[in-house]
């Protein structure tokens, strides 16, 4: 996560234009440039929806391939990581937001990019982050009766071991 001009060579033209546009239009956003030539924005979760909407409508980020969460248990936070791309110019952007671990809620992005509906179902299933305003927040892989969120770093499987089924001869 190097800021400044050191990492410029990997950046493509679309990303450079977006970086200039963001610095011009939104002086309060504080974009960084990652080592891999992506623009990285870190926003508070209360601003998440507004920023996402602006990125989609004003800067052309129409494609969201990945949205996920990393559990930094020692720091007591989840980090939301949203990858955005502009299919027309090839611009890349990373949207980050910190969510406190003891209040794991986040406004949903399903209204901005429809694909986030299923990304967020997966996050809810695996990390237990509740997305406010999500239209259909059910678990996606595990059954509804499953206790706990298995990709949290402090998850302990409390179920009794299932007896082995041995064929009687």
């Amino acid at each position: 996560m190097v800021e400044g001009d050191k990492a410029q060579p990997a950046m493509n033209d679309g990303t450079r234009q977006v970086l200039e546009a963001i610095r011009r239009d939104h002086p309060d956003w504080q974009p960084e440039v990652t080592r891999w030539g992506e623009v990285q924005l870190r926003v508070g979760r209360e601003d998440l929806q507004a920023v996402a909407r602006a990125l989609r409508d004003d800067h052309g980020f129409n494609y969201c391939p990945s949205e996920t969460v990393v559990d930094y248990v020692k720091e007591g936070r989840f980090e939301l990581d949203v990858r955005l791309f502009n299919l027309d110019t090839g611009a890349k952007l990373v949207l980050k937001s910190d969510l406190p671990r003891d209040d794991a809620t986040c406004p949903t992005l399903a209204g901005v990019w429809a694909t986030c509906k299923w990304h967020e179902r997966e996050i809810w299933d695996m990390f237990g982050v509740r997305f406010e305003g999500h239209p259909d927040l059910r678990r996606v892989f595990l059954s509804e009766s499953f206790q706990g969120y298995p990709l949290r770093k402090d998850f302990v499987d409390a179920r009794k071991p299932r007896p082995r089924l041995v064929r009687q001869r």
Binding site: W36, P65, V70, D71, T115, L142, R162, L165
Partner: protein
Amino acid sequence: MGGARTRPEPQTGARENVIELPVLAEGSVEEISGRTRQRARFRGDFEYPGDDFEGPNVNRWQYLPQTPPVEDLLVEEVREIEGNEREMVMNMGPQHPSTHGVLRCVLGLRGEAITRCRPDIGYLHRCHEKLNELWSYQGTIALSDRLDYLAAMTNELAFVLAVEKLLEIEPTERADYIRVICSELQRIASHLLFFGTTALDLGAVTPFLHSFREREAVYDVFEYISGARLLYNYMRFGGVRTDFPPGTDKKIREVLDLLENRLPEYHDLLSYNPIFAVRTQGVGVLSRDDAIAWGAAGPVLRGSGVAYDLRKADPYSGYEKFDFKVCVEESGDVWARFMVRMKEIEESIKIIRQALDGLPEGDARGQVPRFIKPPPGEVYARVEGPRGELGCYVVSDGSDKPYRCHWRTPSFHHVSLLEFVPVGHLVADVVAIIGSMDPVFGEVDK
């Protein structure tokens, strides 16, 4: 759908068939399990392997006979269906042969038309991302084969590219060429399987046999190169495990010649077959805007008229050196997705020929230590797999295992499209639509 046929009125008492189930109370598990087991025996006189397991899961058999699987629908939807006598709920899968594995779709039907579709996944969940955190980086290469088991090479490539970025190493030039050849052969093998299974889903058995004959030839090449036919464990950080053995060039060219001869035969057999065209054209139309918003990728996105291919848009492994074109179809239906894949086979053949001609001398593997500990950081690498954008997000904390590894798998989002694409079509078309998305459940369920 001739006008002469009239649709029979639905029977109003159809709900009488539903067996009323006792409400589960504390301590009543034994009684219910006994009763349901009786019913199961009555239905088929067979025993389930876990029949004597007295645990909380026993009562799931109560859902066996006719009860609608209401827990998979939204509350308001259930209310809507219950208030509407003409609407019926049907379960498709998870053991349906055309669902490419274990997809279950809860379909709302009005007559034979689909009113709603809820895909239900997770039957093949193997805790893939959790295992990534528990295994070393080397082990994860072998594990990533199991993600999309029909395109193991591209899975490995995504992970290896991500870790190489973290380690800040470059693969050798020869390794890049070998990776491109393997990825494209894998794409051909995967698309051949798609050709066969799509035909099979629509009731044509012969194309399946033809495509598997050629797919075997491709897999023979993989066996010759890597020693395995399906799960290769071939990529390594900084290169590939072993160089091409002598004679590989000739073998690959033989396969390409064979394919070029057979592809017109495929088109005669299926692509321009009038029955196939009627079953696929205009069916399952996915608009351009929906395809982008719902995260469709690869042939599904290109079938909807978006010329987006990562090999051109964000080249990796030296794809910018090769001359090929991005295959796009505008109509967005099952036929378009099918034709994109068939054209991609031809483009892949072109790429492999160029790569074989220009294959440089040198080492196929760089000098990388056996045990690696990438510096702390995070990276998102993506490749164009046969099914679309395959992304791998790796977070390192400086230890010998990934702190977090997330896979962005294209099939997961293609299954999510089933929520709205089949609505308005007939039940038989759902099969065609699922087939055209070409989901592989290893990577949907992770």
